[in-house]
Symmetry: C2
Subunit: 106 residues, 2 copies
């Protein structure tokens, strides 16, 4: 069974303190055993036109689609999502089984 | 030094054979030692509204920003990008130093 990934691209509202949102996200992830790994980043290199206003990417990895579903419907996630949605101006979400072509073990 | 990630979200044109594009991408990645890992996926779960028309995510990881820069400016990448751009209806690119909050080693 392949790993399952939850990817979120975000543009925050101007008045939002991104560090505070990140703290909430880190707390959520640390409390949820279903989240296998969590990596994020702020774009520093892409062309303004090519990133279409998005500034941050958040990527969570789960052992299975079932673990993702359990996470997505968990009260702690729902509570965080509710707060999170008030902080964002725009977001894209993609949820997909991960197909690994090349592994970082190389 | 943190790893560097190159993230591409795509909606392909309707007439495009996605498998052919993927073959070209896999060939490129296999030939480029600067690409440390490569994972992709096709959304199967996100709400249509939340994914804003995007269907595929491609994520490449590099050991450093320098490796990414070398990859991005490599003739093989430029040649692929030229072909790739004719296959897509919409794309978002984000390039960022990866901040790992939780590791899959857990």
């Amino acid at each position: 069974m392949s790993e399952f990934k939850h990817l979120v691209l975000v543009k925050f509202k101007e008045e939002v303190v991104v560090e505070d949102v990140l703290k909430g996200m880190e707390k959520l992830v640390s409390e949820m055993d279903t989240v296998k790994s969590f990596v994020w980043g702020k774009d520093i290199e892409s062309d303004e036109m090519l990133r279409q206003g998005f500034t941050h990417a958040f990527l969570m990895t789960f052992s299975s689609k079932e673990d993702f579903t359990a996470f997505a419907s968990h009260p702690k996630h729902l509570e965080f999502s509710s707060t999170f949605s008030t902080a964002i101006q725009n977001a894209v979400l993609l949820d997909f089984p991960a197909i690994t072509v090349k592994s970082s073990a190389n």
